[in-house]
Subunit: 338 residues, 2 copies
DNA sequence: TGGTGTAATGTAATCGATTACATAAGATGA
DNA sequence: TCATCTTATGTAATCGATTACATTACACCA
């Protein structure tokens, strides 16, 4: 029957104790008699009290929430695979530790200002940084303030901060390795934007695999686009205009799906006369035709590890960055696949 | 160079005014001289100050955030179409008004407790209720406390609360109407769970269209499942075991995608010898083969209207619930489609 | 010149919890 | 029995802003 207008003072009066004691009961301080504890809980039940979170936060200087500021351009939204899966696992792990997520969107320009504001106004205890690029100004800002954050991805090797990443290099390596095993020799690579670390890491894996299996690196086989369906389509059209193709490795599933559309339009039959591999394993990957062979990212683990590490840092515990394993899923889009 | 340890007091001292005046400048009170305003802003810039959001919230009794508590079972996650699109537009509209989203997950059992807690502890100013069912206890709880909320969907006609909904009935009507126009007479309907209002409303539209076009209602053509790919697959298998099929209307795209898989396994060719229509227009709908004809929901508008209405209610403005229009998108899964 | 009204600013209470410090009540031992 | 120590509880300061109310300064007019 609580209307929410009950304060700790009311509970103290009702139970015949001081507010300090009520607070101690609420926070499980051990220095309270069993009897008083009982009286206090009875009063709480009777009046329907729940402590005001804001007042508590002000005093303890912690809001028990972590911030997630997501660029709201639509491309990004659908290109970051499983975005809500990531977010759910972030939130679940956070809740486990008594935190929740504060979510907002930003367009590119205001993103830095928004991160700074979240930190300076103490709206959250820590921030998750998505979609990081080289020399990301958000990182400088947070570093300068000394505010806790964790980066999804790993932009530069010489920077020291907390990150959670997937094995991008190894994933690309595995994809190329598999294509080589199928007998392919000319392996096209449709990569993401060059200024993203992910792209560089996947390119590195591509290169290493070529080298390992004695294939020459041919720059004309490597193309950079955006992580979108349209870009995959466009780049593939361009490839088809001037090249023979036997195998294409796309740095994202959305690109690969666009690419398959272009291939089919030109009369190709992925999985029969051309091999296509994607990266991510988004939900659509298994429902397109043919089902897409891809390098699966452990997105849910990325989410929970991000929460775990960030909260550890917030609470002053020992932390170290984490790289999570990827896995090749063979489906129908590669020759001889399922 | 702000370390975030600057308080309003420091600004007051630096600018040679009182904290009250600083506060007035920050909140754009008109009763401040141009000169003092300038002095205060200079001090703010110089010391790198940003007001503490928690302290402000405590005083003004508003946290400028709205809560979104999402069930974390994976089925729901992928069956609610465009979940992140909804969420982004919710967040964008909210930000426009100076609010952000507090996001957390719950499993079924704790959901009611969590909603109550968010309200009672004043962790948010209002709540968005997703995935509502008949006699939803969350609604009773919030009503009793007198806490602002907006429901996505419209469970019962005799209840009075704020909701945002799409034209489910009209959408189903349009789907059936289109199938009839294609010449179909036996129209299967694979609906969602019977206890959801959405299901009832779509069923109502199905019935009305049948009636309007002089077709008899045959209960054996109507089936209830879950809004998942697997359920769509299973139900379709069952249908195929005992029925001839010419047209199937699925109450969700994920179901329709599962259904098409079952149809193809049995040698059917959607778009050629059988018509399939979905509902939602999720991203996958346009990439499956054949592309899915479907009733598109204006999810982004649902998000922004939810924010708009809820914030209006929070701020004591006039509000009324909103029903948003759907639209049939003809693609390749219906005979004669694109 | 003095009274009155208005605009700008200051003082201090307030929001609702937590917690440092003070105190009271028992327990213990000589 | 009394000094001492321990444990439970209370008192009041505190977190960092906003704002009701008080005050000052000045303009205006009779």
């Amino acid at each position: 029957m609580g209307t929410g207008r009950i304060r700790i003072k009311d509970i103290a009066r009702e139970a015949g104790v001081s507010t300090a004691t009520v607070s101690r009961v609420l926070n499980n301080s051990n220095k309270v008699t069993h009897l008083t504890r009982k009286k206090v809980w009875e009063a709480i039940e009777k009046l329907g009290y729940a402590p005001n979170h804001v007042a508590r936060s002000l005093r303890v200087k912690r809001v028990y929430s972590i911030g997630l500021i997501v660029p709201h351009d639509i491309d990004y939204l659908f290109s970051f695979p499983y975005f809500n899966l990531f977010m759910h696992h972030l939130a679940m792990e956070a809740k486990e530790r008594g935190y929740h997520i504060i979510f907002t969107t930003s367009d590119g320009d205001e993103s830095v200002r928004l991160h700074r504001e979240f930190a300076m106004r103490k709206m959250v205890d820590g921030l998750v940084i998505l979609d990081v690029s080289d020399n990301d100004p958000r990182i400088d800002v947070l570093d300068e303030i000394g505010f806790p954050f964790v980066v999804i991805g790993r932009p530069e090797h010489n920077r020291r901060y907390l990150w959670v990443d997937t094995e991008n290099e190894k994933g690309a390596y595995r994809a190329v390795e598999y294509l080589v095993q199928l007998g392919h020799k000319r392996i096209h690579f449709v990569n993401g934007p060059t200024d993203l670390a992910v792209s560089r890491q996947r390119f590195e894996g591509y290169l290493k695999a070529l080298h390992r299996f004695g294939l020459d690196y041919d720059p004309s086989l490597v193309h950079n686009g955006e992580f979108t369906e349209k870009s995959g389509y466009d780049v593939t059209k361009k490839i088809l205009a001037s090249n023979k193709v036997e195998a294409i490795f796309y740095a994202s599933d959305t690109m690969a799906i666009g690419g398959m559309r272009a291939l089919k339009e030109k009369g190709f039959n992925p999985g029969k006369d051309v091999s296509v591999i994607g990266f991510d394993d988004i939900p659509s990957a298994s429902v397109v035709n043919p089902p897409l062979t891809t390098v699966a990212q452990p997105i849910s683990h990325v989410g929970s590890w991000a929460a775990k590490l960030l909260i550890n840092r917030i609470e002053g515990k020992e932390v170290s960055s984490k790289s999570l394993p990827v896995k090749l899923k063979v489906r129908g889009s590669t020759i001889g696949g399922v």
